[in-house]
Structure formats: C-alpha cells, structure tokens
Symmetry: none
Subunit: 404 residues, 2 copies
C-alpha cells in the first residue's frame, strides 16, 4: 500500500510516545428525538477536559454506510485498509490466545456442540459450557493424529476452541461445518478450490476422531469448525511505523489482530476492570513507544441494547483515566473502532467520536466535551480511520517532512 | 468498481424503503456579501423540520472544484463514479424518450436547424420550433434507408430529436456535426478512430437524405447530429443494491440516466408541478423499494439568473412535501445533483446541501434548517456524492456488517 511506503519513508524514532485507548463501539445514538447519546449522557469530566484542550473529529471505520466487524475496524484504526487486508476469524482467534500460526498453517475456530442420537445438532454451543469445561474437552482432543500434519488445539472461552494445522500443502479456502441452525447434522468440511481439498479431508478426519473421543461427554459431544484461514503476513508496526508497540486487551480477538501487526501482547485477566487494564498499561509504558488499550464492554452493553449500562462503562473508564494521564503520553487518542448504538443493538456505520490530545502539537477546536455532536466540526473533521496512525505519528513528532 | 463488489456482497432486502428527492441545482450563493442563498431565503418549514431532526451534510458531486453536467451528477448520486462511467448524451437523451438502445447500437442527439441557400447555418435551433412542429419534421425522416442498418428517429422536445442506429459493426466514436456557431455549414460526421468510419459514413448518408426531405420545411430545413454514443452497460440497481427502483422525472435526460441504472420509469407529464410529481410517487410507492423523484425547475431558474424564481420553486416543493411525508419512507433524502447559483447562471462546483432523514437510524446534528450553512458541520460532513447510496442503504437497514 502506497500509504505504508510513505510511512516507511517518513517515520523516525524521536522518542515521542503514543497511547491509543479504544472503547469498543463507543459511538451511539440518542434514545429519543432531541435526546443525548450514550457518550453525551455519561459524566466524563476527564475526557471532556481533554476534548476541550485537544483536537476532535469523527472517524469513518471502513467507508460511509459500512458497519464493520471488530477485525476490520481495528485493522483500520491501526492504519491497514480493511478492504485490502482481509483476515480470517480463525487466525484472529488463534493468535489472540497465543497459538503459534506460521506461514502456511491453517487456523480454525471451533465450537463444542451437542448432537442427538441421530447426529443432529440440538445445541450449537453445547449449553454454553464454561471455559473450564471447555478446556477439559480440549484435553481429549490433543494429539489427534493426522497424516503429515500436526493438529494443535487450544481452549478459547466457554464453548469455543481453536484448531491450528501445521504442515505442508495446506490451504484455508474451506467452508464452515457449522450449519448455523439446529435440527440438522454438521456439514462436512468442503474445499472451495482444488488446493484446499487436502485441508478439507484432514479437517473431516479430525472431526470424525473428535466425535469419537467426545462420545458420552455431553453436552459437548460434537465439534463444528469455521473461519478456516491463514496468516495474512501483515506489515508490522516496527517496519512501517518504527514503533515498538504493545496491546492491553482482555478479549482474544483484539489481542489477535494486535499480534498480527507486530504488537507485543501484555498479559491480562478476563475480569480486568478498566482501571486494572490501565494499571497494566502503566506497568509496561516505559518499554514501549505505542500502547493500544482496548475496552470491550462499551460494545457489549450496546449490543445488549443497554443504554444505561453503556453509559456506566464509559463513566468507569473516565473515572480511571487519571492512571493513564499520569503517564503523560505525548499523544493520547481516545476513540472507538465503530459505533454500537444501544438503540440499534448492533455495530453501526455512524462515524466515531475521536479525541486527539497532544499538548505540544494539537490544534484546539471548539469542542467543549467528548461526544458525537461536539466532535462534529472539530479540528480533525470527518476522516477515514486509516488516517489515525499518520495523525498520531505526526502529533508525536515522529514523521519527517515530505519533500524539501 | 470495488465499491459495487462490496455493495453486492453486503446488501440484503430487509424491506426498508428509500425516497430520494433531487432538486436539480438546488445549491446556491448569496446575492450580496452577507446575504442569504436561494435555499436559505426560501420559506421551507417542512424541510427545516426534517433537517432539525435528521442528519445534514454537503455532497461533492464529482470532485472538489468540478461543476458537473446533469448526467455525471446524477450518476454520482446513484453511486456510479462519473469519472469511470462515461455516458454519451445521445444514449441519455434516447433512453429518456423510451427509445430502444441495445448493445452495439449508436444513439445520437439531433437538432433541427435553419440553413440559407448556400447551406450556411442561420439558426442552430430552427427558431426553437415547438415540440409539435418538431414531431412533424421527424415524420418526414422516418424510414430513411441505410445499408445494413436501421435508423430510428424520435421527437424529443422543441427542435430536438434522437436518432438510433441499429446494426452490426457500429461505433460511437464520431464527432458532432453541429459547428456550435452560425454562418458556417454543418460539419461532416467524422470518425475519431478507424472502427467508427462506417458509422460516420452512414451518418453522413442519413444527413444528406434528411436535408433533401426537409427542403422547403423552413425554419427546420436541416439537421445537425451530436453526442454519438453507445449503451455503457451499467450495473443495475437490482444487481448492485438489491433494490426495485423507480424514477419520477419530467425531463427525458433524467429518465434516461435512471433507466440506464435499471429503474422503472413512471409516466409523467411535461407540465407536472412538484405536487403532481409527488402524487405520482405516492401512486407507485407500494411497488418499489426506492423511488427517485426529480425537480427540474430549481436548476432552470438558476440558469436563468432568476434568484427569486428559484426561491419560489423551492417553496413550492416544500409546500407539496406532505404528500411525500405521508408515505412515511424509512429513509428520505433531499439533495441536489449540483449547485446552480442564480448569481452564476450556470452549474457550479459548490458542494450541495443534503438532508438525510431516517427516524430509526439517523444521527441528529445541530442543523436547524435545510440550507447551505446549516449543512456545514452536519453529521454527514462533506462527502462524495457516490457515498450517498451506501448511506441510504445503511440507514434503511439494508447493509449487512462487513467482516466479523
């Protein structure tokens, strides 16, 4: 991508430090005509102060009108055009739990499921068994032998696991075996191009053996596989931006995409609060030029349609913000990967309120608070999310002049 | 275009209904320093209410600084990059009057003209003869025989007609025969590439025979041809957007471009008022997912330099708006294809005030009325006109999420 060529050419390590705080799905909509959004409703004195001092704007994740999934949305925030870089879910999930996925390997998401005596699915999520129960089943599936290929299996969360095939001649173009409905048998793995025939056959062989081993282990007595995919070999942060970068995130997917762009993954706990995550950022801050910190629950509450719950998450983040401010980042960006209005109960296409605070270089605009309408007409305008990294680097004084 | 690939992939028919009202050339400029534009001057309580509740912005028809013709401007509104899709005027005009133009055919715009005894043009528009007089002359030109090719001729309006050549081996790369000035003879049709030689010869043969037949039929005793062009085979609305779409427009050109993108053409009358057009929209509303309604006279008054006349047209549109509002569209967009400031008496490049009202999904911004300055800094920002359709589809809940 031309943009990365430019970044490679202009970036230099001047020591400026960048902190990127992403509240997943932070953008919202008012509950009623004339009302306030979640972010506008929330009491956020710290963010409001930063918005007042710094630059604001609205970021467009993928393109106008496009509601993105979390993978593409984060790629865009990291500066990678998500219409160009297409990453499979298997790879994201696998990398997120620390699975080793090398070039040529195929990574797959797995679900434990329940089938009846006739092999028909009665529960696609095996009664949502706990992570502990899931891990026990994963133990049963380790070391399933496949000809010429090593099949590593990892517990993920609840009823989910990851399967990584290591070997030669593998290909990720294989269809999901999850039929997405109950009352039918799982689908066989099917190649969508000749190069993937071998992988599909191996997957079917693995599934057959897994089914044998899981017999009697209800409710998780079957598996389905989906998201077959391979390492997309993304350019790395150290290469394109000359940044030593780290990720603090509690959900596997976000760690996965961060790892793909070359960030180090900081250990977290599933139950970390915003404050806990911020403390983890503070602990590693001295070692990195760039830290990405991800807050999941703004999106979760939006998806639930829980307007007040989303407001509360935002307020918790704001209350914990002094932990980050104490680190005195040169550039501090607060944004979302996309909007998840509680009224919409889903990811949406609405541009995302964005705040860039860089006391030595930011342009103060007229925004008086961090919110959707305050960010309209801010100093950053409406901009594609892929422009955020160049803006961050520039404000950190890490980009040389273009041309003489 | 990649964008259409994305649309094809993400669109689904969820039943959301979209109404696009285009006031041709609606954008304007103040008459004097510190004054109001035509749209700001007009009393438009209905549009102002929609602007207050919904999203506003400014649309850029082709590119910053580019004043577009009506064809490219409408293509852009319909989501087709006008720098990529280049459509000849002959095709637009021909399709607008219902001429059948198939793949391989060449469509041409014709003018009746007046020539003197020496064959020199004295009036390029034949004294602007009436549509009725034009139609009589067209009768004389029917069935002019050409070797291996059928030449259909259609009356258009006033002194204008359309000529469509059906046959094999035709090519549209032929120059206009209208010299654009008087006192000279019409130019011969001239091919600009070898493949078009045959078409140019046939055109010259047709012109020679037409001149013979028109002798004595002053003031329309000659013809000129221009806009030689072929069916550009545009992707269709049903294909790229999964929309069943209709067009309500009184002028041929707008029906022509609508037909090219696969809209059904609703019958109208040249003398329809805005209210008449809106009633036609209401009559077909149940049968379509998307209706495009075109108001011509905002542009006409702008071109005339008639500021007050343009204000009056806008006010008539606003007064008739309840007819459209009663249909309760899920998404209602009011915009223009370009600006035509009365002070400029021509199409201009100024971004076009745009209003998107979709009560279930729109983001309210701070605009208090529908006007150029109120739309600056609205929720839609400044956006390329080609982004309007993705926005419309998203707000109608017709676009699936991109990626997981």
């Amino acid at each position: 991508m031309a943009n990365f060529d430019l970044m490679r050419r202009l970036t230099h390590d001047t020591g400026g430090k960048i902190l990127l705080l992403v509240m997943d799905g932070v953008g919202g909509l008012p509950r009623e005509q004339g009302g306030l959004t979640e972010l506008e409703t929330a009491h956020t004195p710290n963010m409001d102060r930063l918005a007042k001092e710094g630059s604001t704007g609205l970021s467009i994740p993928v393109a106008r009108g496009i509601a993105p999934g979390s993978g593409p949305a984060h790629l865009a925030l990291f500066g990678y055009d998500p219409l160009y870089y297409d990453i499979g879910r298997g790879v994201l999930e696998g990398m997120g739990i620390g699975a080793l996925i090398g070039p040529g390997d195929v990574a797959i998401r797995g679900n434990f499921a329940t089938v009846d005596a006739n092999g028909l699915i009665t529960d696609r999520r095996a009664g949502r068994i706990s992570t502990e129960e899931g891990a026990k089943r994963v133990e049963l599936l380790k070391d399933i032998p496949l000809p010429g290929v090593k099949a590593d299996v990892y517990p993920v969360q609840d009823y989910r696991f990851a399967l990584v095939l290591h070997g030669d001649g593998l290909d990720g173009e294989v269809e999901d075996t999850d039929p997405q409905i109950t009352g039918v048998a799982p689908l066989p793995a099917k190649a969508t191009r000749p190069q993937a025939e071998k992988t599909a056959q191996l997957a079917n062989q693995w599934i057959a053996e897994a089914a044998k081993r899981l017999k009697g282990h209800e409710p998780a007595n079957m598996v389905t596989l989906r998201g077959f995919s391979m390492d997309p070999s993304l350019p790395k942060y150290s290469d394109v931006y000359k940044l030593k970068a780290a990720c603090v995130a509690v959900y596997p997917m976000y760690r996965g995409v961060s790892q793909l762009v070359g960030m180090d993954i900081v250990e977290t706990d599933m139950h970390d609060s915003a404050g806990d995550e911020f403390k983890r950022v503070a602990q590693v801050w001295n070692k990195y030029d760039f830290v990405f910190c991800h807050i999941k629950y703004t999106d979760s509450r939006g998806e639930d349609g829980d307007f007040d719950g989303k407001v509360k998450v935002i307020e918790e983040v704001d209350a914990a913000l002094p932990i980050l401010l104490d680190m005195k980042p040169d550039v501090f960006i607060i944004t979302g990967d996309h909007s998840t209005p509680a009224t919409y109960k889903a990811h949406s296409w609405h541009p995302v309120p964005t705040l860039l605070w860089a006391p030595k270089t930011h342009m103060t605009d007229r925004a008086q608070a961090y919110g959707e309408r305050e960010c309209m007409g801010g100093a950053l305008g409406q901009f594609p999310a892929t422009d955020l990294m160049p803006l961050a680097l520039a404000h950190a004084n890490r980009l040389a002049k273009y041309g003489a």
